[in-house]
């Protein structure tokens, strides 16, 4: 518990494009203790997804390094589970077999058969028990994304990397899934990093909200969320919650204005 779960040390990412180098991330340093939930929020192009991909070992940093549970990330770390903006389910597999995919890839078919009960428990927890035998094209977008939650959790990852997982869903579905995610994360004390565009979503789920600005991508402010857990939808109506979201919004706007000034009229 003493050693941090995630250590981002001076990470800079420069993309080389035809029109010159673009600094996507500049000197980012973040430390997460085990069980902490943080959100990365910022305008498009602030590099928040890039940062998540670097932590997830899918992209390499130009300089700096990332430690997950003390070891340097050079490939996707085993303790991480990722979720993307799209559900990315395999159309030819049933929902159950999609959930079991990480086990099958890691330990083979026989081992994945032993996890069927566990997968069914996860599917029940998100209300998909009756859809285990269905194929992805038979499910709505929200249901597909819930199946993707189960797929992420089946291998019991200690670190959840969430890349705008509910960005494509309608507001009500999104709130429900946020609530379910909060229960899941709370119950098993997992460390999580969420990339989001939504101020209320980021605030609702997090212990800390990191606000980023674009070009170059930098952390320009942190808002600590001291609301008790588990979080409830009622909390979103409180003055305290409103205060927090206003602070995040103010930070975002200050970063946004900076960005605007740099664009020649």
């Amino acid at each position: 518990m003493d050693s941090p779960a995630v250590n981002v040390e001076d990470v800079t990412k420069i993309f080389t494009t035809k029109s010159g180098d673009v600094t996507a991330l500049q000197d980012i340093s973040v430390t997460l203790v085990a069980g902490e939930f943080i959100s990365l929020i910022g305008p498009s192009g602030c590099g928040k997804s890039t940062l998540l991909n670097i932590i997830g070992g899918l992209t390499s940093a130009t300089s700096g390094r990332v430690l997950v549970h003390g070891s340097s990330v050079t490939a996707p770390p085993e303790e991480a589970g990722m979720m993307f903006q799209k559900p990315v389910l395999l159309e030819w597999r049933t929902i159950l077999n999609n959930v079991l995919l990480p086990i099958e890839l890691k330990s083979g078919k026989r081992e994945s058969a032993r996890h069927v009960n566990q997968a069914m428990e996860l599917l029940s927890a998100v209300g998909l028990a009756d859809f285990a035998g269905k194929y992805p094209h038979e499910l709505s977008g929200g249901m597909q994304q819930r199946a993707a939650i189960c797929r992420m959790l089946i291998s019991d990852p200690q670190l959840l990397l969430l890349d705008e997982p509910f960005g494509a869903l309608d507001e009500l579905t999104r709130e429900q899934l946020n609530l379910q995610l909060d229960r899941i994360v709370e119950g098993v004390h997992k460390t999580a990093i969420l990339v989001t565009h939504s101020i209320s979503e980021g605030t609702f789920l997090s212990d800390r909200v990191l606000v980023m600005s674009a070009r170059p991508g930098r952390v320009i402010g942190v808002v600590n969320v001291d609301l008790p857990r588990p979080r409830t939808l009622d909390m979103m109506q409180t003055g305290e919650f409103l205060d927090l979201t206003n602070r995040v919004r103010a930070l975002l706007e200050s970063g946004h204005d900076l960005g605007e000034e740099r664009i020649p009229a």
């Binding site: 997830g56 070992g57 899918l58 490939a75 996707p76 085993e78 991480a80 990722m82 993307f84 799209k86 990315v88 395999l90 159309e91 030819w92 995919l101 990480p102 099958e104 890839l105 890691k106 194929y135 992805p136 094209h137």
Partner: protein
């Protein structure tokens, strides 16, 4: 997104449906067929066109009927039909086996994909019939040369489609498999291969028709005892009604192959099934 587009399109169609969309499909199809046959009969009887070029539909029907009787009674034509069916089937299976395998081999290396594939695509555009004499020289006048040309012609679209399917990898799925630390083989077997099945089936549908074409061409050029050879003999005798009748039988054969592959496609690539359209009918 897609279903949204579909509904938009169908509402547009409902708004101004033409006569052809309002009458039942079977009626319009059979009506059209009757009209074509009637026109054909009038044209053939008019004396404007030589019967050696355009026999009457009734005489073609007679030739078709005697063909059917010969097939049912186990005459020479049954043997001929059977030979051609077997040749086309073998040619198709051989083409699938080789086309898909080579598609994999081509797609699996950057050199082959970038340097070799364009040449193969160019070769695909070449009239492969010119190799017919080569196969006769190599394999003789028997069934072997027919299977070889049929497979050779059907092979290319399969290779190109398989390679294209494997090369067109879904970036999201690739990222998912990378994040799950999947091995190269796992990614190929569990993600790329199933993802490319729609492409492979597109290749197989083209190949199913081309296999029949290739086999018949080789029978025309290299003899043997198949239905293509029978058609050529009929043509040499100026028995044009039989030429039309056998041509019809061979067309049905090609269509049956095509329909069988389409059926398998709908079963295997079930997730790509078009929803709520009549196109698949």
């Amino acid at each position: 997104m897609n279903s949204q587009l579909d509904t938009m399109e169908s509402t547009k169609l409902v708004d101004r449906r033409s006569v052809w969309e309002r009458i039942p499909r079977w009626l319009s199809l059979s009506g059209f067929l009757v009209a074509v046959l009637a026109l054909w009969q009038i044209l053939a009887n008019s004396g404007w066109v030589s019967p050696f070029i355009l026999p009457t539909p009734t005489s073609v029907f007679d030739a078709l009927l005697s063909f059917c009787i010969s097939v049912i009674e186990g005459g020479a034509l049954r043997q001929a039909l059977l030979i051609t069916v077997v040749e086309a089937l073998l040619a198709f299976l051989l083409a699938v086996l080789l086309g898909v395998s080579f598609g994999f081999i081509v797609a699996e290396s950057a050199f082959r994909r970038i340097v070799l594939l364009p040449f193969l695509v160019a070769l695909n555009a070449a009239p492969k019939v010119v190799f017919a004499p080569v196969f006769i020289a190599a394999l003789g006048f028997g069934i072997g040369s027919k299977v070889a040309l049929g497979a050779f012609i059907a092979f290319f679209p399969l290779l190109v489609d398989t390679a294209a399917g494997l090369a067109t990898t879904d970036r999201d799925k690739a990222q998912l498999f990378r994040s799950l630390r999947a091995s190269r083989t796992q990614t190929l077997r569990m993600m790329q291969l199933p993802s490319s099945l729609p492409f492979i089936f597109a290749g197989m549908k083209t190949a199913s028709v081309l296999a029949v074409v290739g086999v018949v061409i080789e029978e025309f050029l290299g003899g043997g005892r198949g239905l293509g050879q029978q058609t050529k003999i009929a043509g040499d005798l100026l028995a044009t009604d039989r030429v039309y009748a056998y041509g019809f039988v061979l067309a049905v054969l090609g269509y049956v192959f095509f329909a069988a592959v389409s059926f398998a496609e709908r079963r295997i690539v079930f997730w790509q099934r078009p929803h709520g359209t009549t196109a698949g009918g």
